[in-house]
């Protein structure tokens, strides 16, 4: 049996179709690692793939056990509750934040297309001249991380008043990990995002702005992410 066939059979056992992709992707990661190791031991690619699949065991058995952990009823209930929540919350959000804010939101580039993971950070910072909120960190399929933030100037609304150079990202050793960035400003509000490299083998990044520094440890947000997915 080859890799594709193994994954296809496992997928078929999962009745909650929305979880099929993530399960397939995880098992596929495993098989790719396994094939790479076996090829290092001297097997051809074809032999390595057959061997890796054989080591996985029976796909029907594994698929059925996984299906028990991805119960369709709970899954569909969760999706339904999210849709209802969105319908209730979105109109309220528009009313509260006002028209200006929603125009600014539309101006942000769509970096969220291929997001595979969202860490809801929700840290708020009160600086002398601004209040800043770090909304979340996302990881997309290509392995790029983005940090998204919103800020409001406390001075006067005619000034955009936000310099993104005040805002930087470092690893725990103090090395810069910044990549590209985007932002949009208006009405004293600034929305933006920063692309950065997550330091290898470290769950910690340091965010600095306006002379203040604080750490974000991804491990702390792991639990929160989970609650949002399975409540």
């Amino acid at each position: 049996m080859n890799r594709k066939e193994y994954l296809r059979i496992v997928r078929k056992q999962i009745h909650f179709i929305f979880d099929r992709d993530s399960i397939e992707s995880e098992l596929n990661q495993h098989l790719q690692d396994s094939v790479a190791d076996l090829m290092e031991d001297g097997l051809s690619e074809e032999e390595a793939e057959l061997q890796a699949v054989a080591q996985m065991g029976n796909p029907v058995e594994v698929g059925k056990l996984l299906n028990q952990e991805h119960h369709p009823l709970l899954g569909y209930l969760w999706i339904a509750s999210m849709v209802i929540l969105l319908l209730l919350v979105y109109p309220a959000f528009i009313l509260i934040t006002g028209f200006g804010y929603s125009i600014i939101n539309l101006a942000i580039p769509t970096v969220h297309d291929t997001v595979v993971e969202t860490y809801p950070i929700g840290i708020e910072m009160e600086l002398p001249t601004h209040s800043v909120k770090i909304d979340n960190i996302t990881l997309n399929e290509e392995g790029r991380y983005y940090l998204t933030y919103r800020s409001r100037t406390k001075l006067d609304y005619s000034r955009a008043g936000w310099s993104s150079s005040l805002f930087y990202l470092e690893d725990s050793a103090g090395e810069s990990i910044m990549g590209g960035e985007y932002s949009s400003q208006g009405f004293g509000v600034s929305n933006g995002g920063k692309e950065f490299m997550w330091p290898e083998d470290d769950l910690l990044i340091v965010v600095g702005m306006d002379g203040e520094k604080f750490e974000i440890n991804l491990k702390e947000y792991c639990d929160e992410t989970r609650k949002k997915t399975f409540d």
Binding site: V10, S22, I23, S25, E26, L27, Q29, H30, Q32, D33, S34, Q55, M56, G57, N58, P59, E61, V62, L65, L66, Q68, E69, H70, V116, E117, Y119, L139, E141, G143, Y145, W198, E200, D201, L203, L218, K219, Y221, C222, D223, T225, R226, F230
Partner: protein
């Protein structure tokens, strides 16, 4: 040495929790470590690890996130506070149980 499957299924959950209490692992890395650390006794069918991980995650003893490790995006698991508590309780139970089994097995000499 090959060991009966029944012994393995009961204890694999505990061993997974133990390893995750030391550091975060992705699935492939976890199964290789399990095998080495147990002198190849825990040589289970690799696919069967994932139902165990997803069950532990549903029980909120571990949590997962997609992260970039060695140039690729992988699903990485970490232990939760609840998981740490369950690990210490079940480790204690396991010690007591294996002690009792050993006592019976050695009584009067095997």
């Amino acid at each position: 040495m090959a060991v009966d499957k029944g012994y393995m299924s009961g204890s694999s959950r505990l061993l997974v929790l133990k390893l995750l209490s030391e550091k975060s692992y992705y699935g492939y890395e976890l199964i290789k470590t399990l095998k080495t650390r147990s002198n190849d006794v825990f040589d289970m069918k690799e696919g069967t690890l994932y139902p165990i991980l997803h069950k532990l995650e549903n029980d909120e003893l571990i949590c997962s996130s997609n992260q970039q490790v060695s140039g690729r995006v992988r699903k990485v698991y970490s232990i939760t506070d609840k998981g740490i508590k369950v690990l210490s309780k079940e480790t204690e139970e396991w010690r007591e149980f294996s002690l009792a089994v050993n006592q019976v097995l050695t009584f009067g000499g095997a």
